[in-house]
Symmetry: C2
Subunit: 445 residues, 2 copies
């Protein structure tokens, strides 16, 4: 066991990652299933302990069993156990440009269980620090090409009929540094720019019925009230498909770093489009080409042309166990172990995930488990009998829009290595003979 | 608008509530749906603000827009906005017996959005304070009528294939003080002894395959390692139906007050059975009649006999908006407003919820919205045109096991007023002409 200490937090330095970075209608309200999970029919543990009389942790009374615990009066809101102090968001100096206000902290997805990220671990990207908004002074303005411009207080906004949906949010730069080869030997830094929550708010379809968007309006500018005035333009089709204005995350108010009190939610689309501390929505005939959608968040292709409007995130997956932070160094030959991971797509619902043990030559089908929802993290699982030999472990997801993850070669051929954003190539972990796990790139060329 | 201050927390005193409180096989893995929600076709707001040039919050720059926000380096784990300081768990002196170690803090379900309760707001009941368990010293023992007794470390336990499921946990004393008439004019105190989370752990079916439970075993004792040695006995049918041993809650380790590092999960059954800081599972032919299942958690009926083994929680519902903490005093005649609430059943999946405006004489069907899952909170909704007249607002849920919520009269006739536990009678809010909301009991007798 990796000894867990109750020591005060030992944090990685955090710093800025200067991330410069086809809408398919897929309505949310369709049948979803809890899929069948991989359940081992055979023994997981080898050997089973028959009598543990030599284990003081069993034969002696635990210290916490012989004294009263803390009264819950000390715990009105609460925090995780101090032993969990390493399960935190992290930045990395490698991604730093020295600006702590425009930075990113990544989600410890190797510690993530299920498909809900607790609010304290949800990844965070800011462009001008975390705005501290007074909800009493908060206003949302809706204007431009509309019949009736509208200004709403927070209370007025919350009077609209609400909806709650589970969706991931991912930065399009997730894995971006990997375009030029393996950069990090940590899953938290290669794939931690994403998290998932249950969001509650009002569908823009419903809200905009009170405003009357004019037929000539083709684009919507969403602008934040924070210091960076973060702004992005959204095509009208997405606005009337499944866009929402949300005020709650996992049952409570949005956290300050997630845009308290109100953010835009565009299920399955780039995280930076989902404007936080939302100030206004303006409708127009043309895109706005805001600051953050010209210099940043475009993709230069080998042809010399850039992809400028690049919104939905592609089908993707990553094995979260094992991973560099969760190696198999404690396993013995013959042990049964669960290979687990997350798959997601901004273009639909995950249909299947395959796993390869030889870096993509041969594939076996993993089980999807738990809730399988559109534009949402879906957990996959494969029970494996550990053989103590080196492996090249890869996962490859398919969604119901017909997309499949490309190889690294395929993706580079399509968009080159200047892409930075939207990396969804198949990821591979090298498992060494000792069970250590490393981030490697499998390429033919 | 109710002005929200950033003041330091003004807390209610907290104290002990000396809460003293037919398994139907309903496997979890079946199709679930996101149900259709109530969407208003007509305008929610009256009147719409056409030009808000007199509103300084719109025409002047917000203070948080003209300075840099806090860098996220200050926010490794994070907390809600300081303006949300009143959205906390609360106890009440009315339920106090002076013992702060055996107490309960209730969930602010009127502030709850969606169906996931954030871990910091999950209701909490302890019998000997919050045990602070060292995960390195943690052991789970499985013994008694089994082929191979087993002692597991936390790492060993987590090697089993995991599952994640969304379920509520409710104290059987939820609403218990109400048996003798309305006691609290707050929903947090009448129905706040429940919350819901996504739980991750191993199914007992899977874990016990390694132990081999003997055919003569009919009961399982679950015992906590906390100071109170909280123990309860579980019928073997439930053990092999959907019982789990869980280590995570909404994606992170269980919070200390929820039993870190491991608790028992018995979907839909009394909260006190779902033993926290779980130490051992012992199998036997007979029930154990542990301390907390003789004096407490039994129900005396009018016949003089007590219901001793009383496990699944009955179909239930409550309107969370409006409620005493969320009145309609700001509404104007003609305003469209959403009536919302939560329905749940420990015996199946919510099938329908009806709403009455006249205290149960006439009923209309509400919409279910969001995820509709077995043994889980299900949100219901009804769009209502406010008329400014007094109402008696009730909700009544039906589950797919064929159960329906009883009236107060029906429930008292069945189990008397000494019952304390398992109260699932229809609840009613009185809405006054001014829009104030009060907890009232509708009875014929």
């Amino acid at each position: 066991m990796n000894k867990m200490s109750k020591a005060s937090q030992e944090l990685d330095p955090i710093s800025d990652m200067s991330i410069a970075q086809s809408s398919r209608r897929d309505f949310f309200r369709k049948a979803v299933v809890y899929s069948a999970s991989a359940v081992a029919a055979t023994s997981v543990l080898s050997p089973v302990k028959l009598n543990a009389t030599d284990d003081p942790a069993i034969v002696e009374e635990a210290p916490w069993g012989v004294k009263l615990g803390e009264p819950i009066t000390k715990n009105y809101y609460g925090m995780p156990s101090p032993y969990e102090h390493n399960n935190i968001r992290r930045g990395t100096p490698i991604l730093a440009s020295g600006d702590i206000y425009a930075s990113i902290t990544m989600c410890p997805i190797h510690e993530q269980e299920g498909i809900i990220t607790p609010n304290g671990l949800f990844f965070n990207r800011c462009h001008g620090g975390v705005a501290e908004v007074d909800p009493n002074e908060y206003r949302l303005m809706i204007h431009g090409l509309v019949e009736k411009p509208l200004v709403l207080t927070l209370d007025e906004l919350k009077r609209y009929p609400s909806e709650s949906r589970i969706h991931f949010i991912e930065c399009p730069a997730n894995g971006g540094p990997e375009w030029r080869g393996p950069q990090f030997n940590k899953i938290q830094f290669t794939k931690g720019m994403m998290s998932q929550a249950e969001w509650t708010g009002v569908s823009l379809k419903v809200l905009l019925a009170d405003v009357g968007v004019k037929p000539e309006a083709k684009w919507m500018l969403a602008e934040g009230s924070d210091n960076s005035e973060m702004g992005r333009t959204v095509p009208i089709e997405k606005v009337f498909d499944d866009a929402m204005v949300v005020w709650a995350q996992n049952g409570e108010a949005l956290r300050p770093e997630q845009g308290y009190p109100v953010r835009l939610l565009l299920p399955g689309w780039e995280g930076n489009l989902q404007i936080k501390w939302l100030k206004r929505l303006e409708f127009s005939k043309e895109p706005f080409y805001a600051k953050e959608e010209t210099a940043k968040y475009t993709v230069l292709t080998p042809s010399g042309k850039a992809i400028q409007h690049f919104y939905p995130l592609e089908v993707n997956s990553i094995i979260t166990s094992p991973c560099p932070e969760k190696p198999w160094t404690d396993l013995k030959k013959g042990d049964l172990v669960e290979i687990q991971g997350l798959a997601w797509s901004g273009q639909g619902t995950i249909k299947a995930v395959d796993i390869s043990f030889d870096g993509g030559k041969n594939w076996v089908e993993a089980s999807l488990k738990g809730l399988v929802l559109p534009k949402a993290w879906t957990r996959f699982s494969y029970m494996y009998r550990y053989e103590g030999k080196p492996l090249l472990l890869s996962s490859r997801a398919v969604d119901d829009s017909g997309h499949i993850q490309p190889t690294i070669d395929q993706e580079i051929e399509a968009v080159g290595i200047e892409a930075v954003y939207h990396r969804n190539a198949i990821c591979t972990w090298e498992v060494t003979k000792k069970g250590e796990v490393n981030n490697v790139h499998i390429r033919k060329s």
